[in-house]
């Protein structure tokens, strides 16, 4: 491949899954939509310089992650020294469709999983956004992951 695909095809192929990721992190509505728009606008600016054949989905996830963190920070003015380390759950990066099952979790489970696994916040930092304590949030995430895994397996057995 000498050139990356037309940007229109990138939006068509990944637009829905990026919105799903933004919605999982920020809830449905204007925040998720803003994160989506900022993600694709930033991607469009940088696209001509992206190496041909690059993993476009992973690249978009990285951009979306930064945009979601920007919006979270704007909404929750909590002190944070630096951007959290990337700690994306491999199962989630492999297939953003997995995020579909996030929608069926409780809001707390969904957000803790999003903040910790997609955005990379340590559990100790998450009470600043969601209240509670690190141990209870860790449990909520573990329950949510378990529910997602069993859903995912059911879906695979059906197909």
């Amino acid at each position: 491949m000498t050139t990356n695909p037309a940007f229109e095809l990138v939006v068509r192929r990944h637009g829905t899954s990026v919105l799903r990721m933004c919605t999982a992190l920020l809830g449905p509505g204007p925040d998720a939509q803003d994160a989506w728009s900022e993600t694709f606008l930033a991607a469009l600016r940088a696209y001509p310089a992206l190496a041909a054949g690059a993993n476009i989905e992973a690249w978009l996830i990285t951009i979306a992650r930064h945009k979601a963190i920007d919006i979270l920070r704007a909404n929750h003015p909590v002190p944070m020294d630096e951007l959290p380390e990337s700690a994306v759950l491999p199962e989630l990066t492999g297939q953003l469709e997995m995020l579909d099952s996030l929608a069926s979790l409780s809001e707390l489970q969904r957000k803790v999983i999003g903040y910790h696994y997609l955005l990379g916040f340590p559990y100790a930092d998450i009470p600043a956004f969601l209240g509670g304590n690190p141990a209870s949030l860790r449990r909520a995430a573990a329950d949510g992951i378990k529910a997602m895994r069993s859903q995912h397996h059911e879906a695979e057995e059906e197909s």
Binding site: A6, F7, V11, L44
Partner: protein, 197 residues
């Protein structure tokens, strides 16, 4: 995807295209239009219309070629192509015999471009042979090259390669298929022959 989610995605995509245009981030805008020769894809750069494609060419493949040859920042955006869409409508409705549009000829070069630039000299409703076209460009022996120039015309209909036929009067080839070529020739012939002209 639910209908609501599809609508949300459509709104987000069109907002993205508007913001991208405002920031000058678009290399190629494109849109689709319906016509008597099937759905057409129109594409434009900031210089003008750069491509008209027929359904048979596979629009996604054409977008890929535009990304490669013009720039990867290709987005769906109708506004820059409104004038072209309106003039094509008028053409197909027999109320227009020529196009007044800025064209971007960057997809052609050399003798092909020379031929394509000379094609509009063939008037509406008229036809010439590949051989006459070669003579018209001052290279009477270049009959085959004229055929290639017509077959690779990136701006069909607007640049009237459909008006070039074989010397025996048969249609020759056409990127959009022979049926499309016949529709265009009949359309122009009907208007000239019609009582209102």
């Amino acid at each position: 995807m639910s209908e609501l989610a599809m609508h949300e995605m459509d709104v987000l995509r069109s907002q993205l295209a508007e913001r991208a245009a405002a920031e000058g981030l678009i290399d190629v805008s494109y849109r689709l239009v319906d016509s008597p020769v099937g759905q057409l894809m129109l594409a434009a750069t900031e210089r003008g219309i750069v491509r008209v494609a027929f359904t048979a060419e596979d629009f996604d493949a054409v977008l890929g070629t535009l990304a490669e040859k013009v720039g990867v920042r290709v987005l769906h955006r109708a506004a820059p192509l409104d004038a072209a869409a309106a003039q094509l409508d008028e053409y197909f409705a027999h109320s227009r015999t020529g196009f007044e549009l800025s064209l971007d000829h960057r997809l052609s070069s050399g003798y092909r471009l020379e031929v394509q630039l000379a094609l509009p000299k063939i008037g509406y409703g008229h036809t010439v042979s590949y051989k006459e076209m070669a003579a018209l460009t001052g290279r009477p022996a270049a009959v085959r090259a004229v055929g290639t120039a017509c077959a690779t015309n990136p701006l069909p209909i607007l640049v009237p390669c459909h008006r070039v036929l074989r010397s025996d009067g048969s249609l020759g080839g056409y990127l959009g298929g022979l049926e499309a070529k016949k529709v265009l020739l009949d359309l122009e012939h009907d208007r000239l022959a019609g009582p209102s002209s």
